[in-house]
Symmetry: C2
Subunit: 287 residues, 2 copies
């Protein structure tokens, strides 16, 4: 893409403007965007005008902007995030009915986990997870799942980046991290008491896609009350198996006896069986 | 942004590449992207390489690409889509427990509705809605909500664009559309038997934000069996009022006696009360 005089590509600058908007600062003025993105104010003016024109930013009252629904629309076509969440959603709801508290689903981006869904209850225990926000991989049980069951080089990459525990109960050294990874492998699930907050316990298990690759982490955040984690761990494992099975069936070639209805839509859509057959016919009619 | 020789801005071309990926074609080769975006193959090569570098596209097996989780991450900061869905989600779940079938939430983009959430059941009736996909506003009860209770000029804009019914039961003329808008206003909710499919009935009610502006449409898709719609309509209306109340409370200034906990995070996050207080303290500590 065209390089600006500052050396950054046009796309880099657009992303810097979009990344200025965060969960705790979703409404920004031009000056705030300029300060947070480190892009000259005159360029911010120009980029924001073009982003508004395309619906990626929306003006709100008080000379303020917010990220636009058009951006959410584009992001909703990601098989790895929304597609996984669509397939997992009915199973997450059933799991939440059984466990209550918080039930959540995360994917990995580099050495972070990105939370893509969380079902909570008003009186549930403290949970630091925000849908759409990242947590450093070594700070969460979802992350431990990727370290223990994911790509081999990941543990070294995290140690190289540095371990910075959030609470006194968190992992503090490379040795502690390696030992925890080993323990998680033996146990088959990750568990952490008070890593994010002393009141809370996290548990997580891998969700596997094709060729047994870990594509997500299914987790629960429950009270840190020294009770046996066995029931929750078992429910998580059973649910993860059901999600993995649904994922595998969604990616089977059409015509396979175990393929789910819905054809090429299945990577992004999970509706009722009749709806999937209808949507498949409709998509074929268009194609 | 810099203009290419073809006259389209760099951002337009990036969006054309991203828009090549659709719900029924989420995995594309470079040649497919080129055909669908109408961008020269050499430019597609260059743009795709840069998008992969930033994580907006992800390479998969077979020289194929899919939209990346990084894109979903950026889209998850939109107050109008993900924020609304976060606030509405517990109420949608409760409504789905009562109605079963399909329960859904839509926003408006121009003269389309964009479905941002749908809860379904495996044996539910046929529903054409796909999370992340658009439906022309006059084809759905969610759209009728925006026509009847939304911006005044919208009905004329839709008539100007042209009415193209999906089934024989759909609206066919400008007069029929205007009459339906009037009926929806009188009734207080939208209802349509067999507009998308003869087997299905849609109902929808407005979700209002600050200053009574309609920010979303809450809908249900149920069997088209000539039974009284009263119970479902009442449940939809009650739920929409609860969501509107939660939205208003999320946008009240911090310190207001009715403001929900969570400070500036409330526009994008809805977790347990304890979690919101914790997240607010954490965000303040960072700020």
């Amino acid at each position: 893409m065209a390089k600006s005089s500052a050396g950054a590509s046009a796309l880099s600058r657009v992303l810097a403007v979009l990344d200025a908007f965060t969960t705790d600062a979703p409404f920004l003025t031009l000056t705030q965007i300029h300060r947070r993105s480190d892009i000259p104010l005159s360029s911010v003016h120009r980029i924001v005008a073009e982003l508004v024109e395309h619906g990626l930013l929306e003006p709100v009252a008080g000379r303020t902007y917010r990220l636009g629904n058009r951006l959410w629309e584009i992001g909703s076509k990601t098989p790895g995030a929304l597609g996984l969440r669509e397939i997992a959603e009915p199973y997450l709801r059933r799991l939440h009915d059984l466990i209550g508290q918080h039930v959540q689903l995360a994917v990995r981006i580099d050495t972070d986990v990105l939370m893509i869904e969380r079902l909570s209850a008003p009186d549930a225990v403290i949970n630091g997870s925000i849908v759409g926000d990242r947590i450093p991989i070594q700070h969460s049980t979802s992350g431990m799942v990727f370290l223990a069951f994911g790509e081999p080089g990941l543990v070294d990459a995290v140690i190289e980046r540095g371990i910075h525990p959030v609470t006194a109960a968190g992992l503090r050294t490379a040795e502690a991290l390696r030992a925890e990874v080993e323990a998680t492998r033996r146990r088959g699930y990750a568990i952490a008491d008070g890593w994010i907050h002393p009141a809370s316990r996290g548990l997580a298990v891998p969700v596997r896609g094709s060729e047994e690759v870990v594509v997500g982490a299914l987790g629960a955040v429950i009270p840190n009350d020294a009770s046996s984690p066995r029931r929750v761990a078992t429910l998580l494992r059973e649910t993860a198996h059901r999600i993995s099975d649904a994922l595998l069936r969604a990616y089977l070639p059409a015509g396979h006896p175990r393929a789910l209805p819905g054809g090429s839509l299945r990577a992004l859509v999970a509706s009722s069986a009749e709806s999937m057959r209808y949507l498949e016919r409709r998509a074929r009619g268009r194609g």
